[in-house]
Point group: C2
Chain length 204, copies 2
DNA sequence: GTCTATATGGAGATAGAC
DNA sequence: GTCTATCTCCATATAGAC
């Protein structure tokens, strides 16, 4: 079956999103013009407006798609019957595995919040806080069960998430450490930060 | 002594920086125009160019001033003769105390790296890595001395810094927790993450 | 040092032919 | 659905009067 000349397997709307992502991650939303996006996609500016009503909606789609995929990714993981310590370990491994190959999405979802109009901002903030709540409730459960020992659930949640979010700022594919080693180290440091003590393993 | 009408105690260049800071923090460098800055300062656009050769140099000054103040602030602290654990405690307290009242500078210095032209980017990166090295060398000293127990110095450095940097994203002046309580919690979690064990205090 | 006025270019968005 | 052409506005930066 011959392909129509000039057609791409994916739909144009998705190609627009795919091309916008690295541009916005690199230059910032304000610095990227509709002309640049059109050029990267290989269409003229006017064509973009057949797929998105305006520039803002491209950004909104990038951010919602990312946040929804993040939440859906976590919910695919089976955590029934796991202890809080096992759940936080799953979470740390999931977060690192999911975000490392998506550094541009992660960057945009954090940096470009300020470029959103108020109602869009509110919507994305809602998705973000759902993600925070995953961690908060694991920590709360662990504290209630006496498995964790933290002075303040909220501070502990923010500290754990902050250290994880930072991974994306320094991880390099070609770096010294494999993804799974990094996961191991972060699991251990998270356990320690939460006051979860087990002598399972002495060489860490 | 009467003040000249329309004059401000500070020099105009500094007023330009002071007004640019919140604008860029809120809207982003690309989204802030020279007209907006001029409006906030209370002069006409052309006047800005008597103090800065172009827009980029305003950003460069904001970022270098902040990074230099950060490094200078740390070096004012007397750490001679302190153990690695005491030094990391000083660092955690310093970082939180210094950055909380400067959330806009912190935000810009991280977010607007990509808005810098290559040579400026390199210069700011140099200042940033000096700051990272402070933490890295404390952790290395602590590991060498057997006071800390970390699997990987670099990962530990990035995790500690990541969790600290995150404080600025959630701290609110009017929040539930005082600055000194937050410092206490982070000191404790950092000690734990670094494997520094002391039973000085059981109620944390 | 600040002003007014302007040069020059690029932005987002739309209309209408194909 | 994509194109060309264009509207309107605002960007950075400069020139020259005061």
């Amino acid at each position: 079956m011959a392909r129509t000349i000039g057609a791409d397997g994916r739909k144009t709307a998705q190609r627009i999103l795919d091309q916008s992502l690295p541009l916005i991650a690199k230059l910032g939303y304000s610095a990227v013009s509709m002309r640049m996006i059109a050029g990267a996609v290989g269409v003229n500016v006017g064509a973009l407006y057949n797929h998105f009503p305006n520039k803002q909606q491209i950004l909104v789609r990038l951010m919602t798609d990312h946040m929804n995929a993040l939440l859906a990714g976590w919910h695919e993981i089976e955590t029934d019957g796991l202890s809080p310590a096992q759940r936080i370990e799953q979470f740390v491994r999931f977060h690192i595995a999911f975000n490392i190959p998506r550094s541009e999405d992660v960057f945009i979802s954090f940096m470009e919040l300020r470029s959103l109009e108020p109602e869009n901002h509110k919507m994305i903030e809602g998705l973000r806080s759902q993600y925070e709540n995953i961690v908060a409730s694991i920590i709360r459960d662990g504290s209630d069960a006496g498995q964790f020992n933290v002075a303040d659930t909220h501070v502990a949640t923010m500290s754990v998430l902050g250290s994880l979010v930072g991974v994306n700022t320094w991880y390099r594919e070609t770096g010294r450490l494999s993804k799974s080693k990094i996961q191991d180290y972060y699991v251990e440091m998270t356990f320690r930060a939460l006051g979860y003590s087990t002598e399972r393993d002495a060489n860490v």
